[in-house]
């Protein structure tokens, strides 16, 4: 069974927590704004295709670039809301303290994975910039998408580190 998605979660009280929470919130809003912009652009493209027989140039590319950036920006917020699902079927009988330890370990592993990805995406972006890879129609350099995704993965690592830290702290009490 997975964690309930609907439970109410308040913002963390500690300074580290408040900072990552606010950052994650603004990242989510920015991602949402990009998503709405993608929709508007797609609709404009469809209308233009109907009316003057020509879509917005490079509409598919813009959707792809925007989606990659926007979806990445949602990852830290999901972690702040503890929205990344896990199986809790086998551990419901554990003491809360042991469960907190396991959750802390899981979050620490997520922080490590996110940090690894941040590092690799940074290198990937540099490589793509050197290769001067760009989109087919508009010639948008693809490294820009990498650069915009990078802060999201770094923030994901920080939010997960915060979860691990607060779970371990809670278990130690």
């Amino acid at each position: 069974m997975t964690e309930p998605l609907w439970r109410q979660l308040g913002a963390p009280r500690d300074v580290f927590g408040r900072v990552v929470y606010e950052l994650a919130r603004w990242f989510a809003l920015a991602g949402g704004a990009v998503l709405v912009a993608i929709s508007a652009m797609s609709v404009a493209s469809i209308l233009s295709r109907w009316l003057i027989g020509r879509p917005v140039l490079g509409d598919f590319e813009l959707v792809q670039l925007g989606c990659a950036v926007s979806v990445s920006a949602f990852l830290p917020w999901c972690q702040m809301r503890r929205g990344h699902v896990l199986v809790d079927f086998f551990t419901t009988g554990l003491r809360p303290r042991d469960r907190a330890l396991l959750d802390g370990a899981g979050a620490a592993l997520l922080a490590a994975v996110a940090a690894l990805l941040t590092w690799r995406i940074a290198l990937g972006g540099i490589g793509i910039r050197q290769a001067a890879e760009s989109t087919m129609l508009l010639g948008v350099p693809v490294w820009i998408a990498y650069a915009l995704m990078l802060p999201s993965f770094a923030l994901l690592a920080l939010t997960a580190a915060h979860t691990a830290w607060s779970e371990f702290g809670g278990a130690a009490k």
Binding site: W6, L109, I121
Partner: protein, 440 residues
């Protein structure tokens, strides 16, 4: 160690991590990465990870997922769920069990603009449970109806699970959406039939509401026509091939956002919708990334191909293989969400199914047919005891109803689900006929 042995070893490690509360995405990523390093070394993995995230998140077909999720949140933020429930209630509420049937109808209507089962259950539960309680419906019937009705969110297109299946198996999303239409409608009809039989057996469970006057019916209809219009444009546009699923989702998101604004959604409401969509999207996309790493590793072990070959050569009856898969899905559904199940199993099951003969279907038809079956059985997991996610959501909304009562209430719907699975398995044409007509 042979490839297959390595695959089995790391899959076992994956299940161990899952049991220890490691987030599903992280468990997939970690075991996939460790297995990859074992077989091929660090260098290829390090290179793969450079482009893995952008490569996955910029897939054009996948962009429908955040868009449909945002659209679903706009729909619930604008109070459309209430309008749908009222409209359905105004027309059939005066029959015995009618308000529960209206809730199923509203779930189906909401499912037609929302691609997620949990969101449908949560949204419709908030709207319909107080009303069912006010009318003295039995708690078992009320909560069972809504837990089961929530699964219509996924069965009736658009469906997030189906999008993921389409991408994993390189099938056409539009065709899968078309294929889901008849089985999804059968699901809604089956649930309504289940309620009708239930209230015949237990007449006190679902008292009839007073008949709504014609004026009220018209007013209720007036309130829901925008939803109907958006559904027709979005799904009709996809079915008719007028635009791509992504474009349809963009149109739907914008239209639903404007409609929500017209119905009084302000900036705080918009932010709430974005938070909700962001959380659901983040969950799905992290799992997608983890599943990618796992699948790259599994492909390297060649285990799926070997397994498919072995089962194909073993002479096991294809229907028995399918039945075991369905049983495994239902068992897994007890502990996992549907999307993780699809991502975990399809890379292994799909080659097996494609290697066997079912009703003499061609490759594309078989892929579509199996997709619809998988979609239906993973949803059954959401309402099966001992743990079913929808049941938990509805039960937490209906304060004071014991969990056992809700699970009892779900039983008639499970019977209906089982019958439907048998139907769809036995008559592939239920899924395929509309596809053949529309793609000609």
């Amino acid at each position: 160690m042979s490839g297959t042995a390595t695959g089995v070893a790391f899959l076992s490690a994956l299940f161990a991590l899952l049991a220890l509360r490691v987030p599903i995405a992280v468990a997939m990523f970690a075991t996939g990465a460790a297995g990859y390093v074992t077989l091929a070394g660090w260098e290829p993995l390090a290179n793969y990870l450079k482009t893995a995230a952008y490569g996955r998140y910029s897939v054009y077909d996948l962009t429908v997922v955040p868009l449909f999720l945002l659209m679903g949140h706009f729909a619930s933020g604008s109070g459309l769920s209430r309008s749908l429930f009222r409209a359905a209630g105004a027309f059939i509420g005066h029959h015995r069990g009618g308000v529960a049937m209206a809730a199923v109808g509203a779930c189906a209507g909401f499912g037609a603009i929302c691609g997620s089962s949990l969101a449908t259950a949560a949204t419709m539960g908030q709207v319909a449970l107080p009303e069912l309680r006010r009318l003295n419906y039995s708690p078992a019937l009320a909560t069972g109806t809504l837990a089961a009705g929530g699964t219509l969110g996924v069965l009736i297109p658009p469906s997030i699970v189906l999008v993921i299946y389409a991408i994993l198996t390189e099938q056409n999303i539009a065709r899968l959406f078309i294929a889901a239409f008849v089985p999804g409608s059968i699901a809604a009809a089956g649930y309504i039939a289940a309620i009708a039989i239930y209230v015949r057996l237990f007449p006190g469970a679902g008292p009839a509401a007073p008949r709504a006057p014609t004026a009220e019916r018209l007013r209720a209809l007036l309130d829901v026509w925008p939803v109907v219009l958006i559904f027709v444009v979005v799904i009709g546009g996809i079915y008719g091939g007028i635009f791509t699923p992504t474009e349809a989702a963009a149109v739907g998101t914008l239209a639903m956002g404007l409609l929500a604004a017209a119905r009084g959604m302000r900036l705080t409401g918009l932010a709430q919708c974005i938070y909700g969509a962001a959380e659901a999207t983040g969950m799905i996309f992290l799992i997608l990334l983890g599943a990618d790493v796992l699948n790259v590793f599994l492909a390297l072990t060649q285990m799926p191909a070997e397994l498919a070959h072995w089962i194909g050569a073993s002479g096991l009856p294809p229907m028995m293989v399918l039945a075991s898969m369905i049983a495994l899905y239902i068992a897994l559904g007890c502990v996992m969400d549907s999307l993780s199940m699809i991502l975990l199993t399809v890379p292994i099951f799909f080659p097996i199914v494609m290697g066997l003969d079912y009703w003499g279907l061609g490759a594309t038809d078989k892929a579509i047919w199996f997709g619809i079956i998988a979609l239906m059985v993973v949803e059954i997991g959401l309402i099966t005891p001992p743990v079913g996610m929808n049941v938990y959501i509805i039960n937490s909304l209906a304060r004071g109803v014991p969990m056992a009562v809700t699970f009892r209430g779900v039983v008639p719907f499970l019977v209906s689900d089982a019958l439907r699975v048998v139907l769809v398995v036995s008559f592939p044409t239920l899924s395929l006929a509309l596809v053949h007509v529309l793609s000609r």
